[in-house]
């Protein structure tokens, strides 16, 4: 009976769901700096620390650069470290993003995705993450508060796995997810720790075996160390899948590395992530009623990119519309994800027509009919080429 009670969903925002995950994972060190729309994650975590539900050292730093620095150092001593940020905070961390992956620090960070200055905008888009994608972190997008809770738990299993040892970002849309409430099953400390027990970090800073970390490396070695990151990233791919499957066995929920929704019989696909994926799930049935047989390819694991699943889902469709909420100014396709997909299409010799759409910049509203319009565009794309990126919803 007791067990059932705790498994009843409770209403949580994605920010709070992440804070509950950090609590249930018994993180040892939290270092963070407030930034909208992330702030309520660490506010909630600090509440858990203050009321004794979480026994963690909470470091109040003076910037995000310091927040990630402290989290990296904590992880290197073997502590389970957590931080969270958004937007300018992630941009300010950029230097340390590469330090975390280069030093193989298994830090987990949640990111409430938000646009970047200038001009100042506190609203959602995904410019922050897409500007950080080449920093060597495992990156996962989530589309519900429940998935956020579950993925943070999975993230520690992945990050701390001795064959991986890479930092992991769990990203979701600012406001649309960070500040809206959904039902979330919170599993509690005991079962979460059983699933993701703390592991001894193999190369930890240890007073009994003093070493210097981060030393300068000459050209004869630097490349090999970076290549080890390449290998670690490749190795993370099956690990993410495996951890997700085991999570499913333990808790009854699993997500896969990439999800194809309403793909049965679909001739066109829309590739989207986070809240857009959630919205599309509710609207695709309408699109089908209007004759657009369009499925959703939901990007969950972004780095490493699940190419095999991608090929499997796209090899029989006629068109693929990729929605980017960030701009790669001046690139061949100006949506960064679309650009990558063009590479994947060439590499795997895939036949679909690619449509690159940029939308939702600075949280430009996308109404239901706008998503239906995207479905129509994807549908049209079966027989028509769109050589240029479509800047959907912009006033020229």
């Amino acid at each position: 009976m007791e067990e059932l009670k705790t498994r009843r969903p409770i209403p949580l925002s994605t920010n709070y769901a992440i804070a509950y995950a950090a609590r249930d994972l018994d993180v040892d060190v939290v270092s963070a700096y407030p930034i909208t729309p992330q702030t309520t994650v660490v506010e909630k975590v600090s509440e858990f620390v203050a009321n004794g539900e979480l026994d963690a050292a909470f470091i109040h730093v003076e910037s995000e650069h310091s927040a990630l620095s402290a989290a990296i150092a904590a992880a290197l001593t073997g502590a389970r470290a957590f931080t969270a940020t958004a937007s300018q905070g992630l941009a300010l961390m950029h230097e340390m993003l590469h330090i975390a992956s280069g030093l193989r620090a298994p830090v987990v960070m949640s990111v409430a995705m938000r646009s970047l200055s200038a001009p100042i905008s506190i609203w959602n888009d995904q410019s922050d993450i897409f500007n950080a994608r080449d920093a060597g972190w495992v990156i996962m997008f989530v589309h519900t508060a429940q998935e956020a809770y579950d993925t943070v738990i999975q993230a520690y299993r992945i990050a701390e796995d001795p064959s991986v040892l890479l930092p992991v970002m769990v990203a979701y849309d600012g406001y649309v997810m960070s500040h809206t409430t959904e039902p979330v099953v919170v599993e509690g400390r005991e079962s979460v720790m059983k699933f993701a027990p703390k592991r001894q970090y193999p190369y930890r800073l240890d007073p009994d075996r003093p070493v210097t970390i981060g030393a300068i490396v000459p050209p004869e070695y630097y490349y090999e160390i970076k290549y080890q990151q390449v290998k670690a990233m490749e190795g993370a791919l099956p690990k993410v899948d495996e951890v997700d499957r085991e999570f499913g066995k333990a808790f009854g929920r699993s997500y896969g590395v990439m999800e194809c929704y309403m793909c049965e019989g679909a001739e066109a696909l829309i590739m989207a992530n986070a809240s857009y994926a959630a919205t599309l799930k509710s609207l695709l049935p309408d699109a089908w009623k209007q004759g657009y047989k369009v499925g959703l390819l939901r990007l969950r694991l972004y780095r490493p990119f699940p190419l095999r699943q991608f090929v499997e889902y796209t090899s029989n469709v006629k068109s693929l519309l990729v929605v980017d909420r960030s701009i790669s100014y001046g690139a061949p396709y100006q949506g960064p994800l679309a650009n990558e997909i063009a590479g994947a299409k060439l590499k795997e010799d895939l036949g679909f027509n690619l449509i690159s759409v940029v939308a939702g910049i600075g949280q430009r509203t996308m109404e239901n009919e706008d998503f239906i319009a995207l479905a129509r565009l994807a549908w049209e794309g079966r027989t028509r080429k769109f050589p240029e990126t479509v800047f959907y919803g912009v006033r020229e």
């Binding site: 700096y33 407030p34 930034i35 909208t36 702030t39 506010e43 600090s46 509440e47 620390v49 203050a50 009321n51 109040h60 003076e62 910037s63 300018q88 200055s117 100042i120």
Partner: protein, 309 residues
Amino acid sequence: MARNWMDYKTDAWVQWCPACGNFGILTALQRALAELDLPNEKVSIVSGIGCSSRIPYYIKTSNVHTLHGRPIPVAQGIKLANPDQVVIVASGDGDLLGIGAGHFVAIGRRNIDIKVILHDNAVYGLTKGQAAPTLPLWFKTKALGQPNIQSAVNPLLLAFASGYTFIARAYAYHIDQLKEMIEAAIRHKGTSLIDVLQPCPTYNDIMTKEWYEKRIYYLDKEDPSWNPNIEKPEDVKKIPKIVEKMMEWEPRIPLGVFYRNTMVEPLDVRIEKIMPGYLQNPPARRSIDIGGRALTNPFVAFKDRIVTT
């Protein structure tokens, strides 16, 4: 015709909580600009990010709203290119003394003629009340889960140690006195700090109007002989007393001009020494072309370096 403070008002809706100390700072600043009769375009107000950093929207001058912690470098760029512009940084305590503290120190070393108005509410107002670097040790304002375990930085001493040549402390609800300090800072040539104690009625439930008004007093009222000026070598004898006053906090908090040193060369004078003509012909006013044609022709200027094969 002399300007009045209304000439510096914009019609933007002021987005601060009722009774926020920022209103007093805004009014005092507009009045000081009017008193000095400064042309609107000759003044630049540069802010970072925070409640206080919205102030450029409300003052009709040439302003920049920058990034969190970064108003000082931006202000320096404006001042270096336009040495006769009045450049004012107005920003929060978190912005200037936390994330941007490196810049706060760096400008002191240069004694660049920038006026820093520190909106000192001891919290991060905009992000809902976390402890700022000026919140005293063990204070537990209402948004904190636990008391503050970090000590407060003393902005006056930090400015002094960094080389600021004008250092004052004001109180946001005393608009007349604050206005006078801003005027004095603008008249001074060199890096200036006005630390403005700014009640934040929404998040700082300890350092309230009542709290401050029980403690504050003016240096020159208490001691009519108070003279913060360092104008000649023997004036350095005043420094121990000045530092002592800067360190005074509880139970009484002194306000007023603590330090005004006119013996240190400001940056523009230093630059003029290594770059004669800088002041007469500063970068912002230098022509780079005439009628679309560059002033220098690289093929002429580098004639003897051109390699022909």
